[in-house]
């Protein structure tokens, strides 16, 4: 026995030495750049720099999807919406848990290798839940933003912290809820706090040291271009947070970020002007952070129409011309296609009922039609859609996302004095309901009985054609959905919803192929990966992550 042990130790020592030289196992920038070529992994929040959430894996097909079987479940240990998106690297999954824990999980069995806990400072202020949406990886490191506005680097193998730096002032209600984006030698995050009168920004940090490389505000300072879209000192606390992971085009060396609402949220009259770059997409140079272009979806927004959606990039032939486009279903109820080289507006059309605007002009600027006081505005406060990640399938040429249909809000504007670190909302709202005492929908689902019903709004999964800007088909649900999308090389579309159903849908036709009731709200997108020749699909529902593969595996 003693002899055996010593042999084993010798082997282990030898393996350790070779591991140090095992560069192939590292997640290099080149691997992330070419993530589409290794569909067995899920290397970034949105599955690659284009953020298409499309995987070439095709072991699970429309013909056999009804053979999916539960392989494992990982239970969350905390309450609250679980909005984390896992990253999968060579059979190991990295997923976060509220408020700021990271777990390394065996992607085959669901067993946990290690767990790192960051306890956010007491002063952390989050408007809408202690959410964290996931990590980024590069080399042998994992990166997580925190609710107290810090950025943490961990050793990917043992979960030990390597550095921990401040991204924003927690006492002024800055926070980080997004999964970071790694580009080359930098890890990039934006800040939340749009309900607290922050001044938003995107900042990049060197992966080795945590030292800040650049920081670009989403509200221009005096002397900078477009500062005149604000009056007085409104710009100092005008919101414009960035709380959803951006995208990257290596050829253009541009990162793209969706920018959130101006503050105070519901009193547009208190901050005259377009309020740039709130409710915009901004294109920032990946190396310097310099702003190259912007496109504003909702000028002087009074409805909380954050443009924190994922910028979905694709190279397509657009109306006969090969084009680098960006597709965007915005919270304001319009679906847009932009030229991502210049930011030029190509097409934009409403995908749900819109009455705050009567349409878009030739440059994509909305024609405002504010509703009289006390009258409902469509779409309502949570928007026609929100932050949940869409998908684009290069096979079908369609863009898929969750829309909220027939949902409206009555807004009330109110003059509000800004105080640092405190809520800065400028009024309030109520959801249009069919009866005065009727329950309505909120940020998440906490009741197993749907007593608000589809009469206050319901989900409609839409498949959009970027050529026309119109839906080719839609798939409705009774409750609303905050679920993201996943498409695959076999034309499957996986998604969820607040009801807890996990659906597999034919990405070409919209036909339901398979579903299972997982019982808890699905408020993130599914992911897919492959280990040892088996394709898995993982989805978080309620407080559990469930992972499926074909029967027999």
């Amino acid at each position: 026995m003693k002899t055996l042990k010593s042999v084993w130790l010798t082997l282990f020592t030898a393996a350790t030495l070779s591991a140090a030289l095992n560069v192939a196992a590292q997640v290099s920038y080149e691997r992330i750049l070419n993530a589409a070529d290794e569909p067995e992994n899920w290397l970034t929040y949105n599955g690659g720099y284009s953020s298409q959430r499309y995987s070439q894996l095709d072991q699970i097909t429309p013909a056999n999807v009804n053979q999916l079987q539960l392989q494992w479940t990982l239970q969350n240990q905390v309450f609250g919406a679980w909005q984390s998106n896992p990253i999968i690297v060579d059979g190991i999954m990295y997923v976060t848990e509220r408020p700021n824990s990271v777990m390394a999980v065996d992607a085959i069995t669901g067993r946990v290798f290690w767990k790192y806990r960051h306890v956010p400072a007491d002063g952390a202020r989050i408007c809408c839940g202690a959410n964290n949406r996931g990590v980024a990886v590069l080399g042998d490191r994992v990166f997580m933003g925190t609710l107290d506005a810090r950025l943490v680097a961990l050793d990917r193998i043992n979960g030990q912290p390597l550095w921990n730096v401040e991204v924003g002032d927690v006492d002024q209600a800055y926070s980080v809820t997004m999964a970071p984006l790694v580009v080359k030698d930098k890890v990039i995050v934006g800040v939340g706090g749009g309900e607290y009168g922050i001044r938003g920004y995107v900042a990049a940090y060197y992966v080795d040291s945590g030292e800040q490389a650049w920081k670009t505000y989403t509200i221009p300072a005096p002397g900078e271009p477009n500062h005149d879209s604000w009056e007085g000192d409104d710009w100092q606390h005008g919101g414009a947070p960035v709380w959803i992971t951006g995208s990257f085009d290596a050829e253009l060396n541009l990162t793209y970020w969706g920018v959130g609402n101006p503050g105070p949220d519901w009193n547009a009259g208190q901050r005259p002007g377009d309020n740039l770059y709130s409710d915009s997409v901004i294109a920032l140079d990946a190396d310097s952070g310099e702003l190259k272009w912007f496109f504003q979806f909702t000028p002087n927004d009074g409805y909380d129409y954050d443009s924190v959606q994922v910028p979905v990039l694709a190279d397509i032939v657009w109306r006969g011309t090969p084009s680098k486009v960006m597709m965007w279903a915005n919270r304001n109820g319009y679906f847009y296609v932009l030229d991502r080289v210049t930011g030029k507006f190509l097409v934009g059309k409403p995908y749900v009922k819109v009455n705050w605007s009567s349409g878009l002009d030739a440059n994509g600027r909305p024609i405002p039609t504010p509703q009289p006081e006390g009258m409902p505005t469509y779409p309502g406060n949570q928007g026609g859609t929100n932050w949940y990640p869409p998908s684009y399938s290069p096979r079908t040429g369609l863009f898929y996302f969750s829309a909220w249909q027939d949902y409206a809000t009555i807004y009330r504007a109110e003059e509000t004095v800004f105080e640092p670190g405190r809520a800065f909302l400028g009024g309030g709202f109520s959801v249009l309901a069919p009866a005065p005492d009727a329950p309505t929908i909120g940020i998440g689902r906490t009741n197993p009985i749907n007593n608000w019903t589809n009469e206050v709004g319901h989900a409609s999964l839409k498949a959009m054609d970027p050529q026309t800007g119109e839906a080719v088909w839609s798939y409705d649900q009774f409750d609303v959905s905050d679920s993201g999308m996943l498409t695959t090389g076999s034309d499957l579309l996986f998604t969820g919803g607040r009801e807890g159903y996990f659906h597999a849908i034919d990405a070409r036709t919209g036909e339901l192929l398979w579903n299972v009731n997982l019982g808890g709200q699905i408020v993130m997108a599914p992911v897919t990966y492959m280990v040892d020749g088996v394709q898995y699909v993982s989805v978080i529902s309620g407080h559990a992550m469930s992972t499926f593969a074909l029967r027999g595996n």
Partner: protein, 265 residues
């Protein structure tokens, strides 16, 4: 086959808009003197603003979005006194689901006043009559017990009213009696279902999702049905009861009785 869960509500929805406006006029018409609230109108109004800014995002405009908590109707898992409520708001609750709020004293008092006033800054003064006469009307002339059940007596087909006084405001009870069409909660709409087996089920909806519906049928059976097994599924947009023919004094008595129904004590 008509499964009206896809797009049936566009026209209904348009109607609600008008209805909601009508109701707000209706409510204003009913608003009379503030009465003898123990909270000042100023505190309630101030609290309304604090609530909107700090609480409504999670609890919702009606205060009922968190399971097990209904702020407007005073339902809490643990809180009893105003001091309990004050301590909870300050330190947070629900194992971290609710953060603590660092409110100024006047804001804290205001938000508690607003919650305790049933979210009603206008102090709607609904006439409340004699509970004993009200009970007699409820069981007799009012014909309420033809459908409703109270404390184990009466049919289960309509909602059980044993704790209605704890979950509804007087204004809401009055509206239900005078104008049930505008007061009916959508989940309670009557349904008529025909299955593939040619069974017709009439009942009240208890829950519904994309693929299934749960009802209590006219024989008081709990039924869960897959929509794919149905030939038709109709949801009535009118309530099964008409506006009451009771006099205004009688209505006040019935409200007085309903307010005594507070469930198992």
């Amino acid at each position: 086959m008509t499964i009206p869960s896809k797009y049936p509500y566009l026209t209904i929805f348009a109607r609600y808009t008008a209805l909601l406006l009508l109701l707000s006029v209706f409510q204003q018409g009913m608003a009379q003197e503030a009465g003898d609230h123990q909270y000042t109108t100023e505190a309630i109004e101030a609290g309304s603003r604090v609530y909107t800014q700090q609480c409504a995002l999670c609890h919702g405009p009606e205060g009922g979005l968190i399971d097990g908590v209904d702020l407007r109707r005073g339902q809490f898992p643990s809180v009893r006194s105003d001091d309990d409520l004050r301590a909870l708001v300050r330190s947070g609750a629900g194992e971290g689901r609710m953060p603590g709020f660092n409110l100024r004293p006047e804001e804290m008092n205001g938000v508690i006043a607003f919650i305790r006033a049933g979210f009603d800054p206008d102090g709607i003064a609904v006439k409340i009559g004699d509970p004993v006469s009200g009970q007699a009307l409820f069981q007799g002339k009012g014909e309420c017990t033809n459908c409703h059940r109270v404390n184990g007596v009466g049919p289960r087909t309509a909602p059980d009213l044993s704790s209605i006084g704890a979950v509804r405001t007087p204004a809401s009870l009055q509206r239900n009696l005078l104008d049930p069409a505008t007061a009916l909660l959508p989940i309670n709409r009557a349904v008529r279902i025909v299955t593939r087996n040619e069974e017709t089920i009439v009942g009240r909806r208890l829950n519904e999702d994309t693929y299934t519906v749960q009802v209590i049928d006219s024989q008081e059976r709990l039924r869960s049905l897959k929509k794919s097994d149905l030939v038709s599924f109709e949801i009535s947009d009118s309530p099964s009861k008409q506006p009451t023919t009771l006099s205004s004094d009688e209505v006040a008595d019935v409200i007085g009785y309903l307010l005594t129904l507070r469930g198992l004590q």
